[in-house]
């Protein structure tokens, strides 16, 4: 049958809209499209609230239950999941209002704020890893910063996802270390121009091509960030002497000022006694 361009376009749209007639959700509008599927704003008729409903082309099988078990303040809670009559999988999540991380960073937040967000992401990843869940596709587009500063990591563990090139580890198989690689790439992405070489070194260590040379887990990566923020030497970088001295000076500024003041007073008293 020969169809006009207009009918083909209509069919593409009509057929791709999920058939939710067997669920208690009602489609409102499309709010985003990603590599593996489409996210819609939907209305939950049963609980009378708005949700985000993601429809993905890949089967999610037991992964949906795993995602639902990831109860963490930085992981978008999954409310419900199911299979559409056409075989596509869907899950309903909390509808987060805020900005995607890449958009949020465009407003040039401080390094401290960037590290706060990165820490929240890292905590969520570390928690998921304890349940043997890996994200597989960590990237700025999968992270939301809410209107109260809350951070959410979304799109967990879709099996068919092989990562996004700039954030994908070079090895073929995906495991905890490939998430660590993606965290390194994420940190690198989040750092502004002129960021400390110690932070750049942390990102580089997480992104080592040899997975064994990366941080063993997300907690180890965050511990190195802690060291940086406390003014200590980071594990990822064999820092030069000048940097050690500068770091020491910066970390012990009050003590150094006190010592300088004490020395000045002693010096002054020494001359006053001679008068």
């Amino acid at each position: 049958m020969d169809l006009t361009d207009g009918i083909v376009e209509h069919l593409r749209h009509a057929v791709s809209s999920p058939d939710l007639s067997a669920t208690h959700f009602e489609l409102e509008s499309e709010i985003g499209r990603g590599g593996m599927g489409v996210v819609y704003a939907a209305h939950d008729r049963k609980l009378d609230r708005r949700v985000a409903l993601k429809v993905i082309d890949a089967p999610i099988d037991g992964e949906a239950q795993l995602i639902a078990r990831l109860e963490h303040p930085a992981i978008v809670p999954v409310y419900d999941t199911g299979i559409l009559p056409d075989g596509r999988a869907w899950y309903a999540m909390k509808l987060v209002s805020g900005a995607r991380l890449d958009t949020y960073l465009a407003a040039a937040p401080s390094v401290a704020e960037r590290l706060r967000i990165f820490r929240r992401v890292g905590e969520a990843v570390a928690f998921a890893h304890t349940l043997e869940a890996i994200h597989r596709d960590l990237k700025p587009q999968n992270i939301m910063v809410g209107q109260f500063g809350e951070v959410y990591v979304m799109d967990w563990g879709v099996p068919a996802v092989a990562g996004t090139p700039a954030f994908r580890a070079p090895e073929g198989s995906l495991d905890i270390r490939s998430d660590i690689y993606a965290m390194g790439a994420l940190l690198q992405f989040m750092l502004p121009d002129g960021a400390s070489p110690a932070l750049r070194a942390i990102a580089a260590k997480a992104m080592q091509p040899d997975s064994a040379a990366r941080y063993a887990d997300a907690a180890a990566l965050l511990a190195d960030i802690d060291r940086f923020q406390e003014g200590l030497a980071v594990e990822a970088w064999n820092e030069p002497l000048w940097y050690s001295l500068r770091r020491f000076g910066s970390r012990n500024a009050v003590l150094l000022w006190l010592l300088a003041a004490y020395a000045s007073v002693k010096f002054l008293l020494f001359f006053l006694k001679r008068l």
């Binding site: 049958m1 020969d2 009918i7 083909v8 791709s16 056409d86």
Partner: protein, 232 residues
């Protein structure tokens, strides 16, 4: 310029509702069957691509398309496809281009007594029409056209002619779409039944599109990529 002057390669071919992938069919020795699926879906896109890309008239384009597919078995067209190097659709389009360029060179050689001159392909594109875009558009049109035929056949088999009629009147409408209420009144059914009939038809149509695609893609990964490209 109209390119709708051929009925060859249309919806005549009927395929089982569950198809194996292209490579599975080839490795199982079902090359002929696999090729039939490819011809059913790609005959018109190839024909229209040749008309635009090489400025062929209707008959020449038909002959060239026919020659391309007729010689596909001898040239081991399917066997030479390597999924690691790209999609089957891209591979087929390149194969058509090479085939047409060789044919063009051969005919030029005959005319000039051996003084072959290749015409750069981009120069013979018909002004304002992108041949690659035509190929993609025709591929989508043919894919949906075949799936609609599959749906009609299913509706006839299962006695769901009213379902198909409502789908046809609404989703295949050339002019303004009727309201669900108008369709319900026309068919003497409840408005919710119109919704359900349309939902059934669209669900089946999506299934047929998927099956048609599965038959011409090498495996699940490319199938998913094709599906994603189709819906976005």
């Amino acid at each position: 310029m109209s390119f709708d002057d051929t009925a060859i390669g249309g919806p005549q071919g009927q395929f089982p509702s569950t198809q194996v992938s292209l490579l599975d069919a080839v490795s199982a020795g079902l090359v002929g069957e696999a090729l039939e699926r490819v011809v059913a879906l790609y005959w018109k896109p190839v024909y229209r691509f040749l008309r635009v890309k090489f400025g062929k008239d209707n008959e020449d384009a038909k002959d060239l398309t026919q020659s391309f597919f007729a010689g596909a078995l001898e040239r081991n067209l399917l066997g030479q496809f390597d999924p690691a190097k790209g999609s089957f659709r891209g591979y087929l389009r390149m194969a058509v281009e090479r085939f047409a360029a060789n044919q063009h060179a051969a005919s030029e050689a005959m005319k000039r007594g051996g003084d072959v001159r290749f015409v750069p392909l981009d120069e013979v594109d018909i002004a304002g029409v992108d041949a690659d875009e035509v190929f993609e558009r025709e591929w989508r049109r043919q894919l949906f056209g075949l799936a609609v035929d599959d749906l009609r056949a299913l509706a006839e088999r299962e006695g769901k002619l009213q379902h198909f009629a409502i789908f046809e009147e609404y989703d295949l409408s050339q002019t303004d779409r009727p309201t669900y209420a108008a369709l319900a009144a026309r068919h003497g059914i409840a408005e919710t039944s119109v919704t359900n009939h349309l939902a059934w038809a669209r669900r089946m149509l999506r299934g047929f599109v998927t099956e048609r695609l599965r038959g011409v893609t090498p495996g699940e990964r490319e199938l998913r990529e094709e599906m994603r490209r189709l819906w976005t």
